[in-house]
Amino acid sequence: MSTPLLELRDLATHFPVRGGVLLRATGTNRAVDGVSLTVQRGETLGLVGESGCGKSTLGKTVVRLLEPTSGSILFEGQDIAGLSRRRLKPLRRELQMVFQDPAESLNSRHTVGNLIEEPLSIHGVGTAAERAARVRELLDLVGLPASAAEKFPFEFSGGQRQRISIARAIALGPKLLVCDEPVSALDVSIQSQILNLFLDLQAELGLAYLFIAHDLAVVRHVSDSIAVMYLGRIMEYADADGLMARPRHPYTQALITAIPVPDPTRRSTRTILSGDVPSPIDPPSGCPFHTRCPHAEARCRNERPLLRETARKGSTPHMVACHFDF
């Protein structure tokens, strides 16, 4: 099998928690705590989980906006986890990110043309005329008129601004785009337009996505495989259809039944989890989910379940971090 585009091995990103008057480190926030995942070329890995599960920290660590504490980030076989800023720069062309809120991620004082051209200038791509042509090409690719280049971000709606962010992110022809909740700030009628754009760009440019979102129905639609995260760890990983059709982890099962389905003839009988997500600063012992799991036993409180393969579809294993089979 060829080298995967991205391979995370036991990746951890911890933050010190400071307290007291001297702001000494009093604890550790284990936001990402030993994650191993792979993204294949031209494919989409969906990453779902609730707030505080570490999915955004994981995304930012992959593009090295945050420093990993341990583990490796293999991009085309090369470990980029410890690379210096200078050595990292050429890799920025290959690895880009799209954020949730384009109003915050786009500098409002620059024209759209400048914003999209900026990555090209930073990396010294082409002449001024070539760059201008590339900007027009990118605008067309994301479904905006060439006249948009002269305008400012505030002149656009949320959906159009997300198109601008995407044009900027793909300007250098990356192989991997990390998308952190890219449609959750958008209106329902605009979400599907942007999801279609992601699908079109993947088909045309062979882009791979690490698609981070909390909406399982959206993630399933765009993903080839899905990983479910809880308190910094992967609870379940499988091909997208397999995960939705036959979730094996009690957390995934609860997550799927908790989604309100827009079909009143199928009001679901749901497993309602009690309580909230515990803090990653002092996560529960054993299985991190045992405090909310309806099936938890003594073993779950003491022994942390490892991700194990329970089934396989093609080359994609169905991995579950649970002591039991459900």
């Binding site: 329902v188 605009i190 599907s192 765009v222 039944t257 389905v261 997500v277």
Partner: protein, 332 residues
């Protein structure tokens, strides 16, 4: 039917004075809500769903927001013409409210117990000690563990889901006849959203109150509501029972919305049907039907004439000139 309606909104027009002139955020909206039922109001940003709620509660930002026309009958009182003392009696007493972000609705410097007791002292005229005892009961009813301990805590000590439970306890402390919930679960995680929605449904069936649930999520509407009003750009596009609306959506906007949501049965990675263009801002609303610039069925008449709400079935109203013609068309 209209005699028994708990809440009846007729011809409501709410406008805001902005730098660019006066804009009508809500434009001739009609609907009613019966006791013991949940009415969902669904729509995208700027459709007027929250302004409708603020108009009912007479909590529009002053002096920019004004009700220009219409009536809002609630338990025999027209809230549009009611004086301030009547409104004080009704708000928090007969009508409870919960909002999207409980942290901004709760007072950060007051203990939980005091915030629940406050409305009881004000509306029920009971003394502080008895009000605090009632507050413990309320916290227990909304599923907060160790309510005696929580009583003396501050909002920041609670999680988002717990804060929303406290908001519900405050809203329901005085046994309101109507609960208005504006995006009550939008800021919460799905597993916590499921808890809160179940709690609201349970309390509704216990108390027989009416619930007006405002949301952008058609899934929440399908699971939680009896009736639904679909709003678009300040007007009612369609209104029906939930079963009827999802089985036979008549307005092209409703149909477009339902089609554009990925379902678990949608083939993965297939292109999703979309609604062209974007939600218009209140400053540049098209003439005639406000959906005409995004509608695949629009013709000259739609660009000229505002379609009235017409009957499309039992209790089913739709504001479209062409609903009969497009009803037979297969949805994508």
């Amino acid at each position: 039917m209209s005699q028994q309606a708990l809440l009846e909104v007729r011809g409501l027009v709410t406008a805001f004075d902005t730098e660019g002139g006066r804009v009508r955020a809500v434009d001739r909206v009609d609907f009613s809500l019966e006791r013991g039922r949940t009415l969902g109001i669904v729509g995208e940003s700027g459709c007027g769903k929250s302004v409708t709620a603020l108009s009912i509660m007479r909590l529009l930002p002053q002096p920019m927001g004004q009700i220009l026309a219409g009536t809002i009958h609630f338990e025999g009182t027209d809230l549009v013409s009611a004086d301030q003392s009547t409104l004080h009696r009704i708000r928090g007493g007969r009508i409870g409210m919960i909002f999207q972000e409980p942290m901004t609705a709760l007072n950060p410097v007051h203990r939980i117990g005091r915030q629940i007791a406050e409305s009881l002292i004000l509306h029920k005229g009971i003394e502080r000690r008895a009000a605090l005892e009632r507050a413990v009961d309320m916290l227990e009813r909304v599923g907060i563990p160790a309510p005696e301990v929580r009583l003396s805590e501050y909002p920041h000590q609670l999680s988002g889901g717990m804060r929303q439970r406290v908001m519900i306890a405050i809203a329901l402390a005085c046994d309101p006849a109507l609960l208005i919930a504006d995006e009550p679960t939008t800021a919460l995680d799905v597993t916590v959203q499921a808890q809160i929605l179940e709690l609201i449904a349970k309390l509704r069936s216990e108390t027989g109150m009416g619930v007006m649930l405002i949301t952008h999520d058609l899934g929440v509407i399908a699971e939680q509501c009896d009736d639904v009003v679909v709003m678009y750009a300040g007007r009612v596009a369609e209104q029906a029972s939930v079963a009827e609306l999802f089985a036979r959506p008549r307005h092209p906007y409703t149909r477009g919305l339902l089609d554009s949501i990925p379902h678990l049965e949608t083939p993965r990675k297939s292109r999703l049907p979309t609604i062209a263009g974007m939600v218009p801002t209140l400053k540049d609303l098209p003439d005639g039907c406000r959906f005409n610039n995004r509608c695949p069925h629009a013709d000259d008449r739609c660009r000229r004439e505002q379609p009235p709400l017409s009957r499309a079935g039992d209790g089913h109203l739709v504001a479209c000139h062409h609903w009969q013609r497009i009803a037979g068309e297969v949805r994508t």
